[in-house]
Symmetry: C2
Subunit: 291 residues, 2 copies
């Protein structure tokens, strides 16, 4: 990395987390990974709303004030560095904002009056991440996502399934992998949401039983696909449907929209829908100052 | 609590966790909650073996050295305080040893050469915890445990389901609750394993799809039930079977063996099997110096 990461805990620069903390003890918390371009956050309202939804689901006190403070501190720090460099090219950074339930006594039951703790970490990214990426080689993960409607959609800290699946991807030399639920329905990729292009329509999993409702997924559904005149349907998807798709693509907050080159023997070239959606995504970035 | 908790990170007294840490970021880690009586750990070999099994499952480097060091530091500290008091009564403490995958770069994939981090916390317990507890009032949690054979049995840090279920118990004024899997089979209570007494036999869930294989569960299966001439069968259990049971009991590392007084309209008195198993448990404690 070009620069050491900056970390804040509850608004103060820090290099450690006060203990005990329920985020560490039980994964009792939430996070958002926000792309900053030249110190400006991308699709921040979608991140704020997903975090607020997660906080309601886990019965946290309001976290919006802490989120806004963490965001402001990180954006200011990133913008300062950017200005001091007089750089011609855009700078990309990842801001991870983690919200935990904070301190608490021993045991699973949360304190009645707990105060959430905000840990934010600002990391540099390679600037190429803002451009179109080579389409990805995908596999099908053998790790099934577990069904838990109470936690589906939100971005909580219980991520061992993704850790195991990402390990498997690396071992197999893959860029990404489809993750299915325990019944074999395709939910997402390990770190992002999947879209299947079929007969000119985009299909994506409804994420009511598992999965994370990504901010770029929401942008595709609400903004980018409509801008291209593409219909999006949320429906159950099979691995077979993915293999037979006209095109596959996935999205996440740092890579934006990425095409798929290969999946289990099938390959695709051109990736026209992924490229068109990536164009919409870049429009979103430009609105935030990207040249 | 009678005393402030003591916390160690990687063998040094500490009040905070170095950041970044994958335990916080993804719940990428394991834990054990060990009962210390007068500074002596109870059933420590079962804890050590379960932790090692979890470390293999998550592909951690060996954690046995860090575990032993954390255990020694905590036992020494607890024994020192105990001796300095010349107390007639036994002192109970909870030692939680948390092992995380330690530092790592951004993203789900773990570092190839990560070094696990050990966080241990020593807390005081009320001495009554070592004696027979009033049988518990149980409900049936509406929160279904998700199915994930890759994580079943081990005691990992992804515990949001237990956090939600414990919150529900408190709101309903219950001591504990049955937790079922998504198909309705009874797996455990929120913080412990369940045994059903039926026709002189003990039944408990096999925990191959979800649940935590508790150390006291193992002691009941391997030692305490055999010592009483009781047969134990691991089989699927329904809520109906629990209601119709001759007796219900649960176990965990801090409460030992506890009887059940009520479940969803049914009540039990006497709790003879729970009391007999608790007697075995107290024998185990006496071997470790309890008067």
């Amino acid at each position: 990395m070009a620069h050491a990461d900056l970390i804040w805990v509850d608004g103060k620069l820090a290099d450690s987390l006060p203990l005990p903390d329920r985020g560490l003890a039980f994964g009792d918390g939430l996070f958002e990974t926000i792309l900053l371009v030249d110190g400006k956050p991308v699709l921040v309202e979608f991140h704020r709303q997903r975090l607020a939804a997660g906080a309601r689901r886990l019965n946290f006190q309001s976290v919006s004030e802490g989120f806004d403070q963490a965001l402001e501190l990180a954006c200011d720090a990133a913008a300062d560095v950017h200005r001091s460099r007089h750089a011609d090219t855009s700078e990309a950074r990842a801001l991870r904002i983690t919200v935990t339930r904070g301190e608490g006594p021993r045991g699973y039951a949360p304190p009645a009056q707990g105060k959430p703790r905000i840990v934010s970490q600002l990391s540099s990214l390679a600037p190429e991440i803002l451009t179109w990426q080579a389409p990805a080689r995908l596999g099908v993960s053998s790790i099934g996502l577990s069904t838990q409607p109470l936690l589906a959609g939100i971005k909580h800290l219980n991520r061992l399934e993704q850790v195991l699946a990402a390990t498997q991807c690396r071992e197999q030399g893959l860029d990404e992998a489809l993750m299915c639920d325990q019944q074999g329905a395709v939910i997402s990729v390990v770190a992002g949401n999947l879209f299947v292009v079929s007969d000119g329509c985009l299909l994506t999993s409804p994420l009511v039983q598992c999965g994370v409702a990504g901010t770029r997924r929401r942008a595709i559904i609400e903004r980018w696909a409509p801008a291209l005149g593409l219909d999006v349907q949320q429906q159950q998807i099979s691995v077979q449907q993915c293999r037979e798709a006209d095109e596959l693509l996935f999205c996440n907050s740092l890579q934006g929209v990425r095409g798929v080159a290969q999946l289990a023997g099938r390959s695709w070239t051109g990736n026209p829908v992924a490229r068109a959606l990536h164009g919409q995504y870049q429009g979103e970035l430009r609105m935030r100052g990207l040249p």
